[in-house]
């Protein structure tokens, strides 16, 4: 349908629209007009992505400057889905407008996911694919080839050079599948096609990392202009992504491998000295002149880019003591040896970066400044040596990353050395964590650089947590409720078992056989009553493994087998993908299945269980983080001191956003229905922290049930849902067609006029414009004044 939001005509690829979608689009437009940031919480499954894309594309197309949209999502699956939606939207626009707009939309993911090279694509690890790809596509390899040396190259990559650089792929929207297919048919590399076409795209869809993680953002997202519209979708977990992108772990094993790497490097330098000493000399000369090749970092084949954020980079020459290749290698060796000795300590150490640097200087005379250049210097060296098998140098790269980060950042970071894996372990297996505590650091450049950043998800409550944690201000913060013509989902809190004893996944009680039996009972009962698919989320892997083993021992799983196939998320993602496919097939074929997975695991992110793929979701236990984790403790302390967020407040916020995320997985559209069970006594007190749209649907009578009460409530609900239901009953209530929308608008206008009149009576423009005003109101008010 086509409609106007103020003066903007929006083409929406469905004949009707949900009221909340319309409200969402209005708020989005206000944000874009005002040129600020916003936080929007939109109920899961109400078509957030399509609303976002419809509005922003409409906005883009009418504006002369054609602001680019950078749409960031969590996982590749979600990116692919967004691309598919965009593609359908553009198809609809073409049909409606009668002509095809000049438009490009592309997604980007890792080389591993986009590679077509017959042998490289078979590598299991993404970083190995990266390394091997570089060894086939780097500039120096091409030079070698031109010199007549026998080097292997990638034909898919080379074919790109034969094409016009700004038109590697025809305009339009390309999903990953489409891109791969096109690449295969044209024998051109999909990864580089997408990378190189980024500047010509109207919409780019990729994962957060490409904007937040300096290690790749620098290379991929550097040239994006300031007026880009940035969207972080499914952003409820964005703070963790920010933190992750500036944190790193070192283990004894990685240090050992780094030593091997540095020795290799040493050998290569000696070799080169005897064969091609000139090259090393010229590198040295360049470094002396401080010609930090600005374009080198941008170069797509660079070994690694600086792990620090662009503003924190030193714009000066590499310090003298690491300019010579052999000096740098010696420097690295010394640093690694120092780290090794630190790892020998058998008690936990936690210290700030300055303290670490002081100790380092005292012991090894390594200064902060050269350390800061480590990453850059290593890149330059690897390039000079023309190394091809760079995957061997990955641990060394990690050490260099660590060095650069620790020498760059002082506050908001902490160094934690844990000699033992767990409290009970006796054999040391030390890990050195360099952990970022402040999520605002990594995202700061994004807020500074782009005028409109939209942060949105199905679960963002409480909304003000995000501006607080990420240190930014918003134009609009809004949470939408879900308009429903019938109660299509049933959230329930189940704090008691059938025997009335409390059930909980709290650490002290989780191995209590009565709790386990009650949870087992809950599972079997819901497997009995739920048609098709049922998804169960556990708070952690450890807990899931434990409880499944116990259930097997108690014979609970034997009962479940009678009703459903059982599938489990396992550490191996390929295996889990197959399990997922089995699950989906069983749901389709009527066999029915139950999927057991972890609330923060890989299934909980980006995989939907809509319609019959998930009629019930059981949240067994509150998905709290492991509170004894030292990293978490450090972060909690930091949050309290810096942002005045209380520990308990953050912990339950964090647990509830994951729980809500799991619950939301089962809904897509308003014709879908599902049961949401929160089984833990601790949910009782967390009710207020659920997103508004779940809270609203959670009746008091369902807020404190025992297992058998929940079972009968669920049965009644399913019976109700089995009553034939047509979309006619939804019309005007939970879906609007063009007429309903026009009516709504007319009503709004009336309301506005009435308000204005009232205000005029109350004394003209003296009243402050309230938040419902918007631009139009401002104008009218100005008129009144005049």
């Amino acid at each position: 349908m086509r409609f106007n939001i103020e003066e903007l005509e929006v083409l929406f690829p469905y004949p009707s629209i949900y009221p909340e979608q319309y409200a969402y689009m209005c708020d989005l437009k206000r944000t874009l007009d005002a040129g600020g940031h916003c936080v929007l919480e939109m109920p899961s499954g109400t078509g957030k992505t399509v609303s976002l894309l419809s509005l922003i594309v409409a906005y883009q197309q009418v504006q002369p400057e054609k602001r680019k949209l950078i749409y960031c999502s969590r996982t590749m699956s979600e990116i692919e889905k967004a691309l598919a939606e965009l593609k359908a939207l553009m198809k609809y626009r073409t049909e409606q407008l009668g002509y095809e707009e000049e438009f490009r939309g592309l997604g980007l993911t890792s080389r591993k996911n986009l590679c077509l090279h017959p042998s490289v694509k078979r590598e299991k690890s993404g970083s190995v694919v990266d390394a091997r790809c570089r060894s086939l596509t780097a500039g120096f390899v091409k030079e070698k080839k031109e010199r007549g040396e026998d080097v292997e190259m990638c034909v898919y990559h080379d074919n790109l050079d034969l094409l016009e650089p700004h038109n590697l792929i025809p305009p339009g929207v390309w999903t990953f599948d489409g891109l791969l297919k096109y690449g295969e048919s044209q024998k051109q590399c999909p990864y580089f096609t997408a990378r190189r076409m980024m500047p010509y795209c109207n919409v780019i869809i990729y994962s957060y990392h490409y904007l937040l993680d300096p290690k790749i953002a620098e290379r991929v997202s550097r040239e994006l202009s300031k007026d880009c519209i940035v969207v972080f979708d499914e952003a409820h977990n964005i703070d963790n992504v920010c933190i992750e992108s500036l944190s790193i772990d070192l283990t004894e094993d990685s240090l050992r491998k780094a030593t091997r790497g540095v020795n290799n490097l040493d050998r290569k330098i000696t070799e080169m000295k005897s064969t091609d000493a000139e090259k090393l000399q010229s590198e040295y000369a360049k470094l002396v002149q401080g010609l930090q090749e600005a374009d080198e970092a941008r170069n797509e084949d660079a070994f690694m880019s600086n792990p620090a954020l662009p503003d924190d980079l030193l714009k000066e020459a590499v310090p003298g003591n690491i300019r010579r290749a052999e000096h740098f290698v010696a420097f690295l060796k010394r640093f690694i040896e120092y780290l090794k000795t630190r790892m020998k300590v058998l008690h936990v150490i936690s210290e700030t970066p300055p303290s670490f640097l002081n100790h380092l200087r005292d012991l090894t005379f390594i200064e902060r400044k050269p350390l800061r250049f480590c990453a850059e210097r290593l890149t330059s060296l690897v390039r000079t040596l023309e190394l091809t098998n760079i995957e061997d140098y990955q641990p060394l790269q990690e050490v260099a990353t660590f060095a650069t980060l620790i020498a760059t950042y002082e506050t908001g970071f902490l160094l934690i050395l844990e000699p033992f894996e767990s409290d009970t372990a006796t054999v040391p297996n030390p890990i050195l964590h360099f952990t970022c505590l402040d999520a605002a650091i990594a995202i700061k450049p994004v807020f500074e650089r782009f005028s409109s950043v939209i942060i949105t998800s199905g679960t963002m409550s409480p909304l003000d947590m995000y501006p607080k944690m990420l240190a930014f201000s918003t134009v609009i913060q809004q949470s939408y409720t879900m308009t429903l013509a019938r109660k299509s989902f049933l959230p329930m809190i189940v704090p008691r078992g059938t025997d009335q004893s409390r059930i909980t996944s709290a650490f002290q009680q989780r191995n209590d056989p009565s709790v386990i039996r009650n949870y087992g009972n809950l599972l079997t009962e819901f497997c009995k009553l739920t048609p098709d698919g049922i998804v169960v989320f556990f708070p952690s892997y450890l807990y899931m493994e434990g409880i499944i083993s116990m259930w097997q021992g108690m014979g609970i799983l034997d009962t479940v087998w009678k009703y459903k196939l059982i599938l489990v998320e396992t550490p191996d993602s390929q295996e889990t993908a197959l399990a997922l496919e089995t699950y989906r097939t069983a749901c389709n074929n009527g066999r029915g299945a139950v999927l057991l997975c972890v609330a923060r695991g890989k299934v909980s992110e980006g995989i939907d269980f809509d319609h019959h793929y998930g009629r019930t979701v059981l949240c067994i236990g509150v998905p709290f983080q492991y509170t004894e984790s030292r990293i978490l403790k450090a972060r909690l302390e930091f949050l309290r001191e810096t942002y005045r967020i209380k520990e308990q407040e953050f912990l339950s916020f964090d647990a509830m956003r994951h729980a809500a995320q799991c619950l939301g997985r089962v809904l897509r559209g308003k014709d879908d229905y599902g049961i949401m069970v929160m089984a833990d006594r601790r949910f009782l007190s967390k009710r207020q922290q659920l997103p508004k749209w779940i809270q609203q649907a959670l009746d008091d009578k369902y807020a404190d049930l025992s297992v058998d009460q929940a079972v009968s409530a669920a049965k009644a609900f399913l019976r109700e849902m089995s009553v034939p239901w047509s979309r006619v009953e939804q019309r005007g209530v939970s879906t609007w067609d063009a007429e309903d929308l026009a009516m709504h608008k007319a009503k709004q206008e009336e309301e506005m006029i009435r308000m204005l009149e009232e205000e005029a009576q109350n004394g003209g423009g003296m009243v402050e414009v309230d938040e419902y005003g918007g631009d139009d109101l401002d104008e009218v008010m100005a008129d009144l004044d005049a």
Binding site: M76, K81, K87, I216, S245, S540, L542, L565, G606, D671
Partner: protein
């Protein structure tokens, strides 16, 4: 068929297999290009694209001179509708001839060529598969179903009613129609039934996880194990490992002993994915199998050739290859399979259960439609979508009258009544009524509805004498009575004809009683009706085919139809006789009553329903249909005769 449209080296043409099967020839459609001829005897290998692939092509590997590298010729079948079928028939034909050529020896190249390692073909061309697999794919095609006499027989056996119709029609068919013709005709109208039956037959119940079902029961202190033969077979099927252990142990061990030891063993625990503890009983015989390779227990498993992006967890994990970050805390780190074998066991068990099911997301990513569409379909918000488009075909009727010529009289009787009225009169009548009403109102009594519509009970006498009220008012007693009768009649009729539930729950005897026939007569009637419909169906196919050769057939069928009329009449006669008998009985009873009590009872012969009238009422539509068929035939026959005589005159 030995000819198919194909493209070879990107040129369109025809692929022909010679009548004698010696050669295969490809002729281009464009005369400029050169054609290609291959001797069947020189073909060393034949390959085709996999069944599911969108592209249909065959590759013929030819070795013209032994010792030289073989030549490959790939032909893509281009027919938009029947490429797969054409390919199948060409391949089958070729295979037959190749085998013949080989068997006859002669200049056959070494047969070893078949086993020669296949070249790494750029195209994913699978070895031509056995005809069996292909048969399955086309199993539901009309032509196949029609030829499948086995299936037809089974269906007839499964549905006695259908069997009866079939037999009856077979008995009464005109002699000119052969049994084959008849059965083709019969099944052509029931292909959907055949298909449904074939689908129904091909569905099997899935298996269950047998190990989870078997539990030792404690009976009177002793542990007992109940295990059926089917369960043992299922165990063997699901766990090839157990079959192996069984094979190697049982002659030495007593069978019952084996099973009781097995269910208490560590091996059993391992198969179920449970952790083996120190306390578990040691069984030297069975424990030696504990270290078996997991793959040894693999059986047919659910497999997926391609992971769609929407559930590609590996791809999600690899989305950011330079990911570093801190390690997750230990509760979030998954243990290895050795520590918790149960997880994998659960998955593999489920996968075994679904081994025979096609994966949901099996769509070939290289198919022309690709994944994009499919992916998007899942994403669509279905309730925002407009309801499915109305796909009914609207009939545009230009001359509607023609369709109601059959019975003008029964056309909406009220509409004819209204058609006779003049608007002016009606209006004045209405005005009158309104005035009456308002008069009543003004008198302060309020509105008397009964007066308003003219049904004043007190004013109308019991018998509604004629002349007292000449104008038939809407609400008077008579018209109300008539309306009730009409409505009740309509409801009864509908009820009889349309109420499925009635039809399914009540016996034929009850139904028969409702129309006043005996169930025997009703059954005969139904049977006559069925066969008549069958013959009508046949008649129209033949008649409308316009095939001159079938004229004789049509003639015979007309006779049969005429006979059908007679048959209906015969049934009607029987029914009439029955009715008369009933009537007689009734009269006799009344007589008896009269003699006993001296009172004469009122008797209305119309109260005995049934008889020829009921039969004729029920059969009216079909009689009309036969009449129309006969008439049309006659007309056509006359026309043709006239034409013929004209022709003869001209000659």
């Amino acid at each position: 068929m030995s000819e198919a449209s194909t493209s070879y080296k990107k040129q369109d043409g025809k692929l022909l297999v010679a009548q004698n099967g010696r050669t295969v020839t490809w002729k281009p459609n464009a005369p400029s290009a050169s054609s290609l001829t291959i001797a069947t005897s020189e073909i060393t290998n034949l390959q085709q694209t996999p069944e599911k692939s969108a592209k249909v092509s065959i590759k013929i590997v030819v070795q013209r001179i032994p010792g030289t590298p073989p030549e490959n010729h790939t032909f893509s079948f281009t027919s938009p509708t029947s490429a797969r079928a054409e390919q199948a028939s060409i391949t089958a034909l070729l295979r037959k001839h190749i085998e013949l050529a080989r068997a006859s020896g002669g200049n056959t190249p070494a047969p070893a060529a078949e086993d020669a390692p296949r070249q790494p073909a750029a195209l994913a061309i699978a070895q031509a598969v056995s005809a069996g697999a292909r048969a399955e794919e086309n199993m539901y095609e009309d032509s196949r179903l029609m030829l499948n006499t086995e299936l037809q027989r089974e269906l007839l056996n499964a549905r006695p009613r259908l069997f009866e119709i079939f037999n009856q029609a077979l008995r009464e068919k005109p002699d000119t129609i052969t049994i084959i013709q008849f059965s083709t005709q019969f099944w052509a109208a029931r292909v959907h039934d055949l298909r449904a039956y074939a689908v129904e037959k091909s569905q099997n119940q899935g298996t269950y996880n047998v190990l989870s079902e078997i539990k030792p029961v404690n009976v009177d202190g002793a542990t007992r194990l109940n295990i059926s033969k089917e369960q043992i077979q299922l165990i063997f099927k699901q766990h090839p490992m157990v079959r192996k252990v069984y094979n190697e142990s049982v002659p030495k061990m007593n069978e019952g002993d084996f099973w009781s030891r097995f269910f208490g063993s560590r091996l059993f625990k391992k198969l179920k994915g449970e952790k083996i503890t120190e306390n578990d009983a040691v069984d030297p015989r069975l424990d030696q199998y504990l270290s078996f390779n997991e793959d040894a227990d693999r059986t047919e498993q659910f497999v997926m050739a391609h992971v769609p992006h929407i559930i590609d967890l590996e791809g999600n994990e690899q989305d950011h290859s330079q990911r570093l970050g801190n390690r997750l805390d230990w509760t979030m780190q998954p243990s290895t399979n050795e520590k918790v074998p149960i997880l994998r066991v659960l998955n593999t068990m489920s996968e075994k259960m679904l081994a025979e099911v096609t994966p949901t997301d099996a769509a070939d990513p290289h198919a022309p439609a690709g994944m994009d569409e499919e992916t998007y379909k899942e994403l669509k918000l279905r309730d925002l979508q407009r309801g499915a488009d109305d796909n009914r075909i609207m009939l545009k009727i230009s001359d509607k009258k023609k369709f109601f010529t059959g019975n003008h009289g029964t056309q909406n009787s009220s509409s004819t009544t209204y058609a006779k009225r003049s608007p002016g009169k009606v209006l004045s009548a209405v005005r009158e009524d309104v005035r009456n009403i308002s008069d009543g109102m003004s008198s302060g009594r309020g509105l008397n509805l009964e007066t308003a519509i003219g049904t004043q009970e007190d004013s109308d006498s019991e018998d509604d004498e004629e002349g007292v009220e000449k104008k038939a008012r809407v609400g008077n007693k008579h018209s109300r009575g008539a309306a009730t009768v009409q409505i009740m009649g309509a409801i009864n009729q509908r009820h009889l004809h349309l109420d499925d539930q009635l039809l399914s729950t009540t016996s034929t005897a009850e139904q028969a009683a409702k129309v006043g026939l005996t169930s025997g007569v009703l059954d005969t009637l139904a049977m006559t009706h069925n066969t008549t419909v069958e013959f009508l169906h046949y008649f129209w196919t033949v008649f409308l085919s316009g095939d001159a050769d079938r004229a004789l057939e049509a003639e015979k069928l007309v006779e049969t139809l005429a006979k059908s009329l007679e048959r209906i009449k015969a049934v009607a006669d029987t029914a009439e006789k029955e009715r008369e008998r009933k009537l007689g009985e009734q009269k006799k009873r009344i007589e008896e009553h009269l003699q006993k009590t001296g009172k004469r009872r009122k008797f209305d012969p119309n109260s005995i329903k049934g008889g020829s009238k009921a039969v004729n009422d029920m059969m009216a539509p079909i009689t009309r249909a036969i009449g129309s068929a006969l008439q049309q035939y006659k007309q056509a026959y006359e026309e043709q005769r006239a034409q013929m005589s004209q022709l003869q005159m001209m000659l």
